[in-house]
Symmetry: C2
Subunit: 126 residues, 2 copies
C-alpha cells in the first residue's frame, strides 16, 4: 500500500475522535485541512483502512456506516433519538462464539452487538 496524504489524514482524524464519524463527517473534517480531497477518496480509504484492520466499520441498522479508531473488541450503543454512538467496553462475550459454533455446528468468525438506548442528553428532554 503506497503512502498517500489523504489516507494519512483520514486515519489520523478517525483515530483522534471518539465520535464514530460517518464517511461524510470524515470528508467534512479532513477538508478543513485539505480542501481538495474528494468524497470518493474518503469512502475508498475508509473501506481499505477498515478491511486492513486500522479502523473499525460499524454498520448501523438503516443508517450510514460509522467508523471507529479503536479497533479493540468492544460493542456499541446507539441513541434511538439522536443517533449518537457510544463505546461499551465491559461485558464482552468471550465464549459466545464457541457456544454458537457448537450450537450451529459451524465456524463462527465474530459477532457484533448493538444496544439501542436513549442517551442521557435525549432522556432529559431535547
Amino acid at each position: 500500500m503506497n503512502y498517500s496524504r489523504q489516507r494519512e489524514q483520514i486515519l489520523e482524524y478517525v483515530k483522534s475522535v471518539k465520535t464514530h464519524p460517518t464517511a461524510e463527517t470524515v470528508y467534512q473534517k479532513v477538508r478543513e485541512d485539505n480542501s481538495n480531497i474528494s468524497l470518493g477518496t474518503v469512502y475508498r480509504n475508509l473501506d481499505r483502512l477498515s478491511r486492513d484492520g486500522y479502523l473499525l466499520r460499524i454498520k448501523m441498522a438503516n443508517d450510514k456506516d460509522r467508523f471507529d479508531g479503536d479497533v479493540s473488541k468492544h460493542y456499541h450503543a446507539v441513541c434511538t433519538h439522536c443517533n449518537q454512538v457510544f463505546d461499551i467496553f465491559t461485558n464482552y462475550l468471550k465464549d459466545t462464539d464457541d457456544k454458537v459454533s457448537k450450537e450451529l455446528n459451524c465456524k463462527v468468525l465474530s459477532h457484533d452487538v448493538i444496544f439501542n438506548i436513549i442517551c442521557p442528553d435525549c432522556e432529559r428532554g431535547f
Copy 2:
C-alpha cells in the same frame, strides 16, 4: 389500522417461512398470489408491521434488510459467504441491558446480536 389484503398476504408469507426474506423476496412471493401488488406497498407494510411488533426487521450490515416472522427475543447468524440468515435461540442475554444501563447511566431499550459465520453448506465447499 384498516384491513388490507396486501398487508395480510405479506404478514402471512413472512410468518410462514424461516428464511428471513428481503423486501424484494417478499414482493416476488406475494406476487405469485396477487400479481397487482407493488413493491412500494411491500416496503411500506413491512415497515409498518415491524414497527408495530408483528414482524422483526433484521438490519444487515451492508446488505438489504431481512424480515423475521418470529418476534420472540433471539439472535441471528449470517453466513459471510452465501448471506443466509439463521436463528439462534439459545444464549440470550437477559441481564445485559440492565448492566449496560448502569454502565452508561441511561435507558437501554434492546440489543441486537449478529454472528458472522460460515454455514455448513459453504464450509464443505461450494
